[in-house]
Subunit: 448 residues, 2 copies
Amino acid sequence: MERTYIKELKNKAGQEVSISGWVDIRRDHGKLIFIDMRDVSGKIQCVTSAKNESAYAATNELRPEWVVTIKGKVSERPEKMVNKDEENGSVELQIEEVAILGRAKELPFELKTEINIDTYLDNLPLTLRMERGRVIFKIQAHIIKAFRNFLTQEGFVEIQAPKIIGEDAEGGANSFAIEYFKHTAHLAQSPQFYKQIMVGVFEKVFATGNVYRAEKHSTTRHLNEYTSLDFEMGFIKDHTDVMAVENKMLRYIVEELEKNCEKEIAHLEANLPSVPKNIPSVKLREAQEILKKEYEIDCENAPDLEPEHERKLCEYSKEKLDSEFIFVTHFPMSKRPMYTYEDEEDIGYAKGFDLLFRGLEITTGSQRVHDYDILVEAIKKKGLDPEKFAFYLQAFKYGMPPHGGIGLGLERLTAKLLGLENVKEATLFPRDLNRIDTLLSTDKLEQK
Amino acid sequence: MERTYIKELKNKAGQEVSISGWVDIRRDHGKLIFIDMRDVSGKIQCVTSAKNESAYAATNELRPEWVVTIKGKVSERPEKMVNKDEENGSVELQIEEVAILGRAKELPFELKTEINIDTYLDNLPLTLRMERGRVIFKIQAHIIKAFRNFLTQEGFVEIQAPKIIGEDAEGGANSFAIEYFKHTAHLAQSPQFYKQIMVGVFEKVFATGNVYRAEKHSTTRHLNEYTSLDFEMGFIKDHTDVMAVENKMLRYIVEELEKNCEKEIAHLEANLPSVPKNIPSVKLREAQEILKKEYEIDCENAPDLEPEHERKLCEYSKEKLDSEFIFVTHFPMSKRPMYTYEDEEDIGYAKGFDLLFRGLEITTGSQRVHDYDILVEAIKKKGLDPEKFAFYLQAFKYGMPPHGGIGLGLERLTAKLLGLENVKEATLFPRDLNRIDTLLSTDKLEQK
């Protein structure tokens, strides 16, 4: 008999069906055994009574997380047993046959239990099966799909950027070293060089992929490996063209989630933001004035914003500017990477921006230097050797248009859209200072 | 004036327009200067005569690969000057104003020149601008999009798999080591563990991303970093369910390319294959008999196929079975990774397969072991320590359905679909034994 997905059962009362999935919960009422079955589409209560000897014996053996195929008849529940809060609350499945596909050992904890983040992460192969995890990563799949669809519609071409690189675009301090045959190579902190090079080929490109930061942080917002959503576009007027595309893209992503993930968002009790047509934008120096005036925080002349400043600025933006997003532009050139374009009308400051959302920086972007000689000078100014960037520099040697782009952290965006406190909750298998799955904590890994 | 994309000019005769792009070719005829301009959408011949002093002077300065905005008037070419082979062959642009956006140094070679593969790869930021490279990677973007769209339609959920891992699913010999704070970690050779774990969550998942093989090969078919297209699906009967999905997916990809990339495919003079409804399938031992009988190649009892065998088998499949694709199943268990499912009816052989296409293996797939105890034994049998796989093993400890999946190399698929001789031509920025861009050849990289 062909498999029926569980969510379809509410319309199958009276029919014989075969379902497959996991035993979610087992309740033994003596002469009756109830099994809640779970598949990717939903849940259903199944029941057997001692009168049906073979079905009862087979059901009796089942335990949580066993994988089974159950054949049986869908029946309407008696009026007083109807559960209106559940999708299949009006029906149940009368078990006739049970076939075991996979057994499970006893669980280390009940899947309904509240557990701390470390236990959650140590047991992801099990804990991701809970509704919460499934919902988060289903939404994340929609976010990345919407990112790609939007940019494809706008004429951007997807590229596959390498992650094994020589010198890093962002400076070497935070890059992981790898042994590459007899050489030392590095893991890319971004697809920066390659997406810029590809502007010379396709004018507008995007990439989605893993990037690496060897930062010794273990916070609720840092990851050592994450998924970066990048785009880069040529023939821009300045960085504001890039900001406008990101703004439009965020509106599109939120619309797509509203359309496709209504149930998932309701389950998380998340509030999707409204993305304004024009996200407000302030220069760093203006932001610092706001912080001083509104919150008595004195950070004038600081080259960057502290996490607390980002939170306050978002609070301000939400209350006074009616936007949960705010662009901060014109950071000092000294704090930005060598490829950043200096504002000719505000010397010392970059035509670049961070995007803050609900208290957190989710994007860094800018116009980039496109003139070869200026770029060579900028590399030297950072104390780097242009010879080491000879491959990248070819793009500029042979003609590049004004261009710019952004990198957006998929996990940070997911976490903030869904109101998750820790970015690790929005990362399938997070890597941090103390974690590669459970390997760094088990001492099984060879120490250097 | 707003920018007009060049491909639209054929319908704009008589109009004033502004175009932006690269100087493709410059031809100086004394009193007339011709400039072929190129943007992402196409090419157009622009012209100025000495009579228009300022336009002539500005145009006279231009050289190949300079990036410019040109304002001018589109005019019909005289009948005898019409070039029917070009999209804009019936019009040209009378240059009125030139604005320089980016200059270029003198090119190391003319972009039309035939160059060898090393020169091509050493100069990718320039050489990718040639029609051939642009066309190949535009098609590649369509392939990966079609892969994702097909699987999404079939109910698969996209996942983001980490690449920094502890122990590797495929065995450690070919994995790159990385310094991870005070530990040694590795770069994943596949998303194998994570996609299997996620079958326990979503039943059907896919992933696209970079994977790493530290193989000391430098051939036309090996890469040390490539893009792997992976899917994994639960509740299968056996490996043939997986093969059927791959078969259907390949049909979809080829259909999408026929629909969306007609011009690009014509440019490459590529012949897309017809993908049969049922790709033929032979056991390895049957394949070896065919090789003996048809080609007098004696490889009976060999545990795998040599490249020459793969080519001959494809030749046979094309001629005798009317298919450019052929599945080879039932390799010996000793040659397959520990997670491979053994055929109960053909002990010693795997419920797994390779897919050969136009002489090359492009996919490896199989049903996987889903029983915890069997998997622990299989790990031990490979001489590995199950303790090191404790995280992965959780999925099986807590109930997994029968499942299987594949990994498909994007670059190999691209190369074979398009008739490219070297897989590096289908890789944006290939990494091999001797190449990370130009860094391994310049001795600038620190030697270990």
